[in-house]
Symmetry: C2
Subunit: 220 residues, 2 copies
DNA sequence: AACTATTTTTAGACAAGGCTAAAAATTGTT
DNA sequence: AACAATTTTTAGCCTTGTCTAAAAATAGTT
């Protein structure tokens, strides 16, 4: 069994490996964990001793198979609890992160599996992120960023990259909801803003919005 | 906010104060917490500094009002989660304790209140223990031990004193369920065993059973 | 290739929570 | 009241996870 801190490091490395496939640097991990580089080095040695990461001094870190498994298990629990909070306890999608951050460390395989069953084996959390199954398999999806759609192209909102309260509230305010169709009406090259159509309304969104919303392009 | 360890100490003191109303001794607390007396002394100093307990060296400890409040909040969460596990996730009453022991430390007032609402404001947990309301008030009940019933007297099973897996499984095996009527047919003075009637069957139970099952005597 | 800037690691310290062994206080017994 | 037994506290040390400051390694630039 892993400590709370170990689990958080594994999770952070898992997320950062998507961006830094060549290896996660000590500094990047320190920033993600909101701690100091020296603390990270200490922890990496411990994780390495437990064969949860592949770590060579100065060379960055990768998860081992064991570490990856452990990280996915934590992510699975996090996302299932988020679904629970939104679907069953009337939380809104911008309130659930911190609580799920606590609940993800509860240790009981049966609890996780029963929760999954109770929720009807959901495939995605409230932010559109995929929930791995009990074996740790993620469903892959052909999502792309709204900013990658070309003029005239349409898609369905399927997830957010930034799940901060601020961004989620912005989406709520503008009635942009996962599952809804969205269309790029016009692209302004000067500032990379987009004129989009949602709910029969047109709305101009800046680059910082369009690069944080995932869409599944509509077949055409 | 209190640490996991602090919350566990407060909870333990709360439970022990029922038995040791003159003050909870260091040794009693050490046994309850499965730790050493010296560790208890250390923690009592910390809790005392935070005004959570009233502690004078060598004189035992009492909860302060703040400490009592904190303890009740943890107990409320523990019991609500137990209801959730049994009612919603198909756990049996002998499996829930360890998981609730983890869940009781999750910090979110809204979570507790929404969970309470979701469960329909339950008054008792699966072992018959009362669940304090959001203000910390317990419902008092006139329960007594099965062993305190006299020959011929009847009652309703309302709770267990020992909630170990072993005892709960014994009750399950003999189909003794909370809410069911129970009657003392005969009392054997020699070993304090009782012949009881439940579900139309007669069953002999030893003293260690009858002193761990709470009943509400039937008006007569 | 050498020098600088940046990143990473090491060394030493600290707080929380726990332990052992020894000292001090309390309780019990004659 | 005095000695013995028990309980409680103190003192010092350990582990986990963190920190700061300094040293070492790597990367970047001329």
């Amino acid at each position: 069994m892993f400590s709370l801190s170990e689990e958080n490091y594994l999770k952070a490395i898992f997320h950062l490996e998507k961006k830094y496939s060549a290896g996660v640097s000590t500094n990047a991990l320190a920033e993600e964990m909101e701690t100091k580089a020296s603390s990270v080095t200490d922890m990496l040695k411990k994780l390495s001793d437990k064969n949860l990461v592949k770590y060579r001094k100065y060379q960055g870190v990768h998860l081992s198979e064991n570490g990856k498994h452990a990280a996915i298990e934590v992510i699975r629990k996090h996302r299932l609890w988020e679904v629970f909070l939104v679907e069953k306890l009337n939380f809104s999608w911008d309130e659930v992160h911190d609580i799920a951050e606590q609940l993800e460390h509860i240790k009981s395989e049966k609890l996780t599996d029963e929760l999954d069953k109770f929720l009807g084996h959901p495939k995605r959390d409230p932010h559109g992120d995929p929930i791995p199954d009990a074996a740790g398999n993620f469903r892959i999806s052909n999502k792309m960023l709204l900013s990658d759609l070309s003029e005239g192209q349409s898609g369905i909102c399927v997830g957010v990259k930034d799940s901060s309260t601020e961004f989620l509230r912005y989406l709520d305010k503008n009635e942009i909801t996962l599952g809804k169709p969205i269309k790029v009406v016009q692209r302004e090259e000067y500032d990379d803003s987009l004129l989009i159509q949602v709910n029969e309304n047109e709305l101009r969104v800046s680059k910082s919005i369009s690069t944080n919303l995932f869409v599944k392009p509509t077949e055409s």
